[in-house]
Amino acid sequence: MSLYYVTIGKNEYRVDLNGAQTKVNGKPLEGRLHQLNGSGLHMLQCEKQTLELFLDSQEKDTLEILVGSRRVLAKVETLPQRLNHPRTEVNNSDLYSPMPGLIVSVTVSVGEHVEQGQTLVALESMKMQMQLRAACNGRVTHVAAQPGQQVEKNALLVRVDSES
């Protein structure tokens, strides 16, 4: 597995180490990394420049990198790690009931800004409480569900205007 996703600040880089030419975000970038000492000092030899860097593993797949006087925390993920969090496509920003059940609670109100994954409604069905979550970031424009209400499958519960 030689595909890595490196995130530095807000920028994301896809580094492909497979193949004759290493690539960063699709553009070829050659480089060889040499370790200079046992405490993290390295040298990166690229075609046009040679960089002296300090690299140190932190927790949670983060590398602390010192280059020049700049200190960055780079998050490095492998393909398997990326795949561990599958992206879900968003078809509809509105929330519908996935099955018949009883509304236990509604945790948002009209006008409220919601984040993707935020719980909007708690539904009880099959003797289980389910958190029904927002499919995307957006603003609540209409709340059709009330606690204590029985709903059918596919009943509209909350209208969300997606922000994109």
Partner: protein, 496 residues
């Protein structure tokens, strides 16, 4: 001159190391003290001897420190800055114990520790003093009195100083609340809830004058420093001399400092602080009766060792220089590297210093007491290191400190290094056009665009991760043994 002097440094961190260095140069045996937190600190091993004080607040424990001095046979105590340096009781206790206190007389410290009394003395010496209270505020402030004050106004703790214990009131309505809060804070921080009002200077420049007195009537003025780059009243970047200061003002500042120094028959190092307003009028603020964090910039432009001067005065020697022998040459700038995270509103950062590479080269001085592998905690102040650059003139000093900041590398915790670079590189700083409110308007930019450098760094990160990855993929598979092979064959119904 007293012989058999042995100095105990009642402090820690970079200032302890600073004092110890001069002691070593002068051949004076030294004693360090340390708390449990500082067991592995550099100053402990640098001194000739070290005495453990115990729990982490012990640097403030007068008894323990004097006991440590007795135990080690020290004859003098250097208080450094912060902790007990401006504690008149401590100075008195030291002298009563028969030891030499390396600093001003206890009475002087007591006087200067009372900011109201200081204003009084300054005023009596003819120094311009900001409009404000001449006595502590009464517990109940009548509203008419509040309305008479011009706003915004500062509410200051009489026992405060060094930028601490100051609050701002914007209106008469707000004033009682602010006073109450200031009193509470003052009581908690300084043990004294006396507060007073002082007019606020807009667009002020913080300019301070270094004086040195021998307590025998001789006072030297060692030039001024500008410390206008402050964040929440904590200095971040200081320089000597003050940029673009008209000579006439400079002369007046020196004269004022002299007068005060003579009036107090000052003994030791002292800093007379002024605020310069937009009309270049200066106003006395306070005197700091101790060595200051930013003393290196004065050392760089004067070529003097201020700690040595302190020790000489403490040993009873009169000043060896005359004022006209004090030469001020070139310009020096100091930047403080703090363990604070600008991205998190300068929250103190902690961690182990994973990597440290200090700057060097011509005109660069680093005062620090950190080392690679050191554990930085939030127990004490956040100062990690001071970078000081000297140049023949201010632009040269700026070029130098910029180079030094580029060279300096510290990893393992967040610091203000990038932030300092941005300030030094800013147009206003280069133009010398700064006031104490500069940093309030200053926005640190943390967004870095994708660049060739960043792409290379991303490549390095991936190559590094690839080396250290635990995956051991083997294309060769273990052969099935006969049992397993038979099992598999059995399970395939008929089709082979």
């Amino acid at each position: 001159m007293k012989k058999n002097i042995k100095v105990l440094i009642a402090n820690r961190g970079e200032i302890a190391l600073r004092v110890l260095r001069t002691c070593r140069e002068m051949g004076i045996p030294s004693v360090a003290v340390y708390t449990d937190v500082d067991e592995l600190a550099l100053h402990v091993s640098y001194a000739n001897e070290a005495v453990s004080l115990g729990e982490r607040n012990s640097y403030l424990d007068i008894e323990k420190i004097i006991q440590a001095a007795r135990q080690s046979g020290a004859t003098a105590i250097h208080p450094g800055y912060g902790f007990l340096a401006e504690n008149a009781e401590f100075a008195k206790a030291v002298e009563e114990a028969g030891l030499t206190f390396i600093g001003p007389r206890p009475e002087t410290i007591a006087l200067l520790g009372d900011k109201l009394a200081s204003r009084q003395v300054a005023s009596e010496c003819g120094l311009p003093v900001l409009p404000g209270s001449s006595s502590p505020l009464p517990l109940e402030l009548p509203l008419e009195m509040a309305r008479q004050v011009s706003y915004p106004v500062l509410v200051k703790a009489a026992a405060g100083g060094g930028g601490r214990g100051i609050r701002l009131a914007m209106s008469a309505e707000e004033l009682p609340e602010v006073i109450a809060a200031a009193r509470q804070e003052a009581l908690a921080a300084f043990g004294d809830d006396k507060v007073f009002l002082e007019s606020m200077v807009q667009q002020a420049r913080h300019i301070e004058v270094q004086i040195l007195g021998d307590g025998c009537g001789n006072v030297l003025c060692l030039g001024e420093r500008e410390c206008s780059i402050q964040r929440r009243r904590q200095k971040l970047i200081e320089e000597a001399p003050a940029a673009g200061l008209p000579e006439s003002i400079r002369t007046k500042l020196y004269e004022a400092a002299f007068r005060l120094g003579h009036q107090l028959n000052y003994r030791g190092l002292g800093t007379v602080e002024f605020l310069l307003d937009a009309q270049n009028e200066f106003h006395f603020i306070e005197v700091n009766p101790r060595i200051q964090v930013e003393h290196p910039v004065t050392e760089m432009v004067t070529g003097m060792d201020l700690v040595k001067e302190q020790l000489m005065v403490a040993l009873g020697a009169p000043l060896r220089m005359l004022q006209d022998q004090v030469e001020l040459r070139g310009a020096a700038i100091e930047a403080r590297i703090l363990a604070e995270d600008p991205a998190q509103d300068f929250l103190p950062s902690t961690g182990k210093i994973s990597f440290l590479k200090e700057a060097g080269g011509p005109g660069i001085r680093i005062d620090s007491a950190v080392y690679q592998g050191m554990q930085v905690s939030a127990d004490y102040d956040s100062l990690l290191a001071k970078i000081i650059a000297w140049g023949e003139n201010r632009p040269a000093a700026i070029r130098r400190i910029r180079r030094a900041l580029d060279e300096f590398q510290i990893g393992g915790l967040a610091t203000d290094l990038e932030f300092l670079k941005q300030i030094i590189n800013s147009t206003r700083f280069r133009a010398g056009n700064i006031t104490t409110t500069y940093l309030e308007e200053f926005q640190p930019s943390d967004a870095q665009p994708e660049s060739e450098l960043e792409r290379a760094v991303a490549l390095a990160a991936a190559l590094y991760a690839n080396e250290h990855h635990e995956r051991k993929f083997s294309a060769k598979t273990n052969a099935l043994d006969f049992w397993q092979h038979t099992a598999w064959q059995e399970q395939m119904t008929g089709k082979c």
